[in-house]
């Protein structure tokens, strides 16, 4: 394809206004990082409670979370839009087409993987530690603290997986964010993914590929961290 062969020189030339691209990267990181931080604050307590207690419907709740990992982002975007729209229940907040709306939808998307992977690592650690801990005569709190310490690699993996899901999705941020960049070339709600779609829509595949390369590098960095981590403790 001509677009592919013409991309290599473009990667060197970088045919964009620097401000345009840096502002897009900033919006992408800002939205995804905040969404993942909030998501983590919610997910970890849930994962801990589920990992340490037995209750009726736990199996069902776990499968709901696992299902959430595959929840289509475009549906999440639609639901968040209906929620935030002027006519919706949270319409008074006036959040449609803002970064906050994008954070909300990415929060919904990132929470299931973070919870599920954290839960998996906590559960797997707990079995071993509980045995060892009890053998050594530790209290329940000792066992919990030990679990947290042992599961921290798995939890970091979970957070990074949530980040990967957030930064690479397009369906929801396009609907609730609106892909807005100002006339001054500064992105307001335009992310790397929505910018790529815009370029592709206009037939500028070469510039779309350059933006794609930037996104892939960002995601690769994240995945590199995950893999390095996985090499040490592994995901169970």
């Amino acid at each position: 394809m001509a677009a592919l062969t013409s991309t290599l020189p473009l990667l060197l030339e970088f045919p964009f206004e620097t401000l345009y691209v840096t502002s897009i990267i900033r919006v992408s990181l800002y939205v995804s990082i905040i969404a993942v931080v909030v998501s983590t604050l919610v997910s970890l307590p849930v994962a801990f409670v589920m990992g340490f207690t037995e209750f009726r419907g736990k199996q069902f709740f776990t499968s709901v979370i696992n299902t959430g990992m595959g929840f289509p982002s475009v549906v999440v975007g639609l639901l968040v839009l209906l929620l935030l729209s002027n006519q919706g229940p949270l319409g008074g907040l006036d959040l449609v087409f803002t970064k906050e709306a994008m954070i909300m939808s990415q929060f919904v998307l990132a929470t299931p993987p973070i919870t599920a992977i954290s839960l998996a690592s906590i559960t797997s650690v707990e079995t071993r530690v509980r045995d060892a801990g009890h053998v050594l005569g530790g209290t329940k709190i000792d066992v919990a603290l030990l679990t947290l310490k042992e599961a921290r690699n798995g939890i970091a993996t979970a957070i990074l997986a949530g980040f990967g899901r957030a930064i690479s999705e397009i369906g929801s941020v396009l609907i609730v964010g609106g892909n807005i960049a100002g006339a001054d070339g500064v992105s307001r709600t335009r992310t790397l993914t929505t910018a790529i779609r815009l370029e592709a829509r206009q037939g500028r595949y070469d510039t779309a590929i350059v933006l794609g390369a930037v996104l892939i590098v960002l995601v690769l960095v994240v995945n590199g961290i995950v893999i390095r981590l996985g090499g040490q403790e592994g995901l169970r």
Binding site: L29, Y30, G91, V96, A183, T189, R201, G203, Q232
Partner: protein, 321 residues
């Protein structure tokens, strides 16, 4: 163990650094926004709208051609405001406005605009500019429509030949026009040859290029993309002497503040005033891509005009029948 701890510490340091970089990015972005607002309020205090945001929902054609940035930058500077332009397609743009999620709409489907106005969601519509639609297709022209004077005959010929036709299929202004043309040609499009894409104009032109198909395009988007696609104009619109049926007028409408009291009506009217001003109309007239004019201003006329815009078939309430 100490090696591992060391590596973990390194890893955490990397993570931390990443977070710091990310947050620094956010902070400086915040800073930018704050600076922007500060500047705006110091330079435009008298305007009373400085620092506010106008949400405009519009069609992909105004955005993708680059015209909107050209128009919005001076407006933003003039009032110290930001314009958030959401390019959606006419149907979606009006729907967003109907929900009160935008302040002003710029669209190109008179029938949908009329409905929007009739239902009370819009006020103070102004004609803004026009260009026209063209029927484009592969140079080989398997349906033999090149140079036809009638758009409906051309559509009928495409349907008869069974050549691929790419339809927007997305409730956009162009799709609305396309359906009106099929209707006028008394053809109910469907079958192997008729493909509804649900995509924007740019995507459809690209798809038609790749599959040697026909499509209906607004001249602006076609011209702005001409360098990237391999389609030729086979039936001209009225700008180049083609049928009036292919005219493509754009209108700008403020969302009715009596229906949605949350909309920024003042700023919407300022925007409409600006767009229909001699300066902005001149910008529209002078805007060129690849040396070709894409839009023609339509807001100004020296002739007297005593009437606000009235939708087709509208009668004031109380005068039914």
């Amino acid at each position: 163990m100490s090696m591992r701890a060391q590596r973990r510490r390194e890893f955490l340091a990397t993570l931390g650094a990443g977070a710091v970089v990310g947050l620094a990015g956010c902070a400086s972005m915040r800073g930018l926004e704050a600076d922007g607002t500060a500047e705006a309020s110091s330079s435009g205090e008298e305007a009373g709208v400085a620092g506010e945001t106008l949400t405009l929902t519009t069609t992909t054609s105004t955005y993708d051609t680059g015209l909107l940035d050209e128009l919005n930058a001076p407006f933003g500077a003039m009032y110290g405001v930001t314009v958030d332009a959401v390019a959606q397609g006419t149907g979606a743009a009006l729907e967003t406005a109907r929900a009160g999620d935008s302040d002003v709409v710029m669209v190109h489907a008179r029938s949908l605009e009329d409905e929007f106005m009739q239902n009370g969601y819009g006020v103070n519509r102004r004609d803004l500019m026009f260009n026209d639609f063209v029927i484009v297709g592969p140079r080989a022209d398997p349906a033999g429509i090149e140079g036809m004077e009638s758009a409906t005959e051309a559509f009928a010929a495409v349907a008869d030949s069974g050549a691929t036709f790419f339809s927007r299929g997305d409730n956009s202004g162009t799709y609305t026009k396309e359906l009106a043309l099929w209707d006028a040609a008394t053809i109910d499009p469907g079958g192997e040859w008729y493909l509804e894409t649900g995509q924007g104009m740019g995507s459809v032109l690209t798809m038609a290029t790749q599959q040697d198909g026909y499509t209906l395009a607004d001249r602006g988007t076609y011209l702005s993309m001409k360098a990237d696609i391999d389609l030729t104009i086979l039936v001209q619109g009225p700008i180049e002497g083609g049928p009036e049926l292919l005219s493509n007028p754009y209108g700008v409408i403020a969302v009715n503040p009596a229906v949605h009291d949350t909309v920024n009506y003042d700023l919407a009217m300022a925007y409409i005033g600006y767009l229909t001003s001699p300066a902005a109309q001149k910008t529209i007239e002078n805007y060129e891509v690849n040396g070709e004019q894409l839009f023609y201003p339509e807001a100004l006329s020296a002739d007297p005009n005593f009437q606000q815009y009235v939708p087709d078939g509208w009668r004031p309430s109380g005068s039914e029948d």
